[in-house]
Subunit: 426 residues, 2 copies
């Protein structure tokens, strides 16, 4: 079925700011609370939020097999379970409804009043109930930087890294949408040269610039997903800030991996941009440096050209962009990650989230964490306003943004913006 | 509020086999499918399953603040969210309803027909929808055995082990109830002395004898749970078999921990035995070998004396008990685990599951995994029937059982029984 929603020539009758992340070619999905305190599933064009629950009740999705309450829910999980064909039908239909040539809804002022919201009338929620969250470690630049700093510059990559899209399980309960502040975590740390850990606030709170993809129900227990089918099970992507406490991480992570250093919070952008919408931005991925096992070999372009940036905004000061990276740098792509994750029969469900791992680029200004940007704190990052930073300070806001651009169409993710508050006090 | 349900003198009018795991003092909670294809929450006395949804509809819980459909659900999550006071009221009431001195239900044959089931009329389901699953590594004997085998017998414990209840995140989607078979997983393995991994079936499939506790909603993002409050948020426990593929684990786990080696399956016993029911079996835990940080220090008895055993049953052969251990051996207790897990503000919700880690005892016949019992395969374990085992073979069934016993009352968990099938073929 063609993705007619992606037609680059289509214009919309919704007033849309120039250079918006959300032209009519985007049509992302999210969940919001409306001015009437109703939770609904919606989409966004320009700075207008659209209540899909109301649109459906008014009959605008006639002919598409959808249950009556599919959009009147507090998560996208059920809609995502309906599968790729349905997502595509709905996105194509939304494009038609808001097409500049179609004034059926436009001229129905009553319906417009029910369906359309300005952004200050809504409050974005988590778009999915995350069943399981997995985080990968798939940027070769990031893995090399970390290995260089903490192990051996001549053997920075561990022996398994070029063979395995290394990943580990994370905590779903602390995944929060953009706008929710996070407290500086406390925990155990070992001061260099001592033998007894101390307890206190993490002094090395960091962001990790990631993207995460959201899956649909993919397989039964025991059944692997072949790599060439993997994209069928990917609904879309969000920006993902994998908050990390480096001092807690260093002391706790051997031998079972990071735990409290990560599970105090992970922040996501609230609009899921569909894989369909990203179709025009496919690019070839990096060439494998070592031969990969057959279950990880793929054909075609499975990487996506998504520009990413991270800004730090100290309290009452202007923001500074501290990193510019790109999702295309990932050594292991999403299809490889999903094929690997399920090769042992691990079941993947609707609403599961899979983070890319920190997306560092090849140059020092494209690194995806303060750990790398400040090189363990040895090279503080100068801000335009608010001094310099080795790591994130109390009341700093970390903002991540992402967008694709080609042939005059820009598809963006909006942003994930999170303020770091001081340590929690009861 | 007194836990009157624990009265050791109480008898029941339900016919109960001697030495049952489920006397009227137990009253565990589970979810089952009935002969009429209805999913309901239930309990069990002896070999009789009791439909709590039907009991509630018939008015037997009058006076207890419960929503009408609280037991007519496919998971216990909402009931668990109601909190400890409600769990206790319900358990106490169930004890009264089935007390030998109370014939209100007993003499109502109509009601009995609706409420009571033989075990062959029901099919046990997963008792909770697991939001997040965490696995700890809290047996000093297990950690020492693993360290001795793979690192250094003189420094078997890693430096953090005596300070941190080490834990890591696991996969919720592959937690299955007793009775569901598991396929031997495939994955990457590195043959000793080679540099290039190969792909194929794991040759070192193992069980891990664990228990897991299930939590209620405990805290908001950012807010730690003090150790002395931790037990308020623990609903109950199950037996837990953390299936493991040792060869996959060895190649993948550095630096972010086990992933595909674990997430192909974890099996649980289907009846959740409440922490209340285990109250009489409290014992003091092991003395700390090093001083613990204040947030991990506790008063009173926080360990539980639960006898555990593992049997292997080859196809068409008798089972052999290969290990006898006890939950009281755990160096870190559940309160310490929960206080640690939340000290950074990580939120814990109803239905979250926390595994203990392999529960090995001090003697070689009390080790909780084949890795330890066969000492990496160097000392095959002799079975009564079906040869010997270094690890688990295709079509073997692994059975774990657990029970407490004191003053003539036995509180048991039933069993978790899982057959290992050959590699999945489409």
């Amino acid at each position: 079925m063609p993705i007619t929603a992606n037609n680059p020539k289509r214009k919309t009758w919704i007033k849309t700011p120039t250079n918006t992340d959300f032209p009519i070619q985007n049509i992302p999905f999210g969940v919001f609370l409306t001015r009437d305190d109703v939770i609904t599933i919606g989409t966004r064009i320009g700075d207008t939020a659209i209540d899909l629950g109301a649109l459906h009740q008014l009959g605008y999705f006639e002919g598409i097999p959808l249950t009556d309450d599919i959009f009147l829910q507090d998560s996208l999980n059920d809609f995502i379970s309906d599968g790729k064909k349905t997502w595509r039908l709905v996105r194509n239909r939304i494009a038609e409804i808001f097409d500049a040539e179609n004034d059926a809804l436009k001229k129905n002022k009553e319906h417009c009043k029910i369906v359309l919201f300005t952004l200050d009338e809504i409050e974005m929620q988590l778009p999915v109930t995350v069943g399981d969250y997995t985080d990968f470690y798939s940027s070769i630049e990031h893995a090399t930087n970390v290995g260089t700093m903490f192990r051996d510059p001549d053997n920075a990559l561990l022996p398994n890294w070029l063979h395995i899209p290394v990943g580990y399980h994370g905590r779903s309960s602390s995944i929060i949408p953009s706008g929710i502040p996070v407290h500086r975590p406390q925990g155990q740390k070992l001061i260099n040269g001592t033998e007894k850990p101390i307890f206190g606030p993490s002094r090395l709170v960091d962001f990790e610039l990631e993207m995460a993809f959201i899956t649909t129900d993919a397989n039964q227990l025991g059944e692997p997903i072949p790599i060439e089918e993997a994209e069928d099970y990917i609904f879309g992507l969000v920006l993902f800030n994998d908050w990390s406490a480096r001092d807690i991480q260093k002391w706790e992570y051997v031998p079972l991996g990071p735990f409290l250093a990560k599970n105090f919070a992970s922040s996501i952008s609230p609009w899921i941009v569909t894989l369909d919408a990203l179709e025009p931005y496919r690019v070839a991925g990096p060439k494998p440096l070592k031969e990969q096992l057959p279950y990880l070999q793929y054909t075609g372009k499975k990487s996506f050209d998504i520009n990413l940036e991270v800004a730090i905004q100290p309290e009452k000061a202007k923001e500074t962009i501290v990193s510019r990276s790109n999702f295309k740098h990932m050594y292991w792509n999403m299809s490889q990650q999903l094929a690997h994750h399920t090769v042992n029969g691990c079941p993947v469900n609707s609403g599961d989230m899979m983070g890319s791992g920190t997306i560092s680029g090849p140059t020092p200004d494209s690194y995806g964490s303060m750990l790398e940007l400040s090189w363990r704190g040895e090279k503080p990052v100068q801000l335009k306003e608010g001094g310099s930073r080795k790591f994130i300070e109390d009341n700093d806001t970390v903002i991540m943004r992402g967008h694709c651009e080609k042939d005059g169409v820009r598809i963006g993710f909006g942003e994930v913006s999170t303020k770091l508050l001081p340590v929690f006090k009861k």
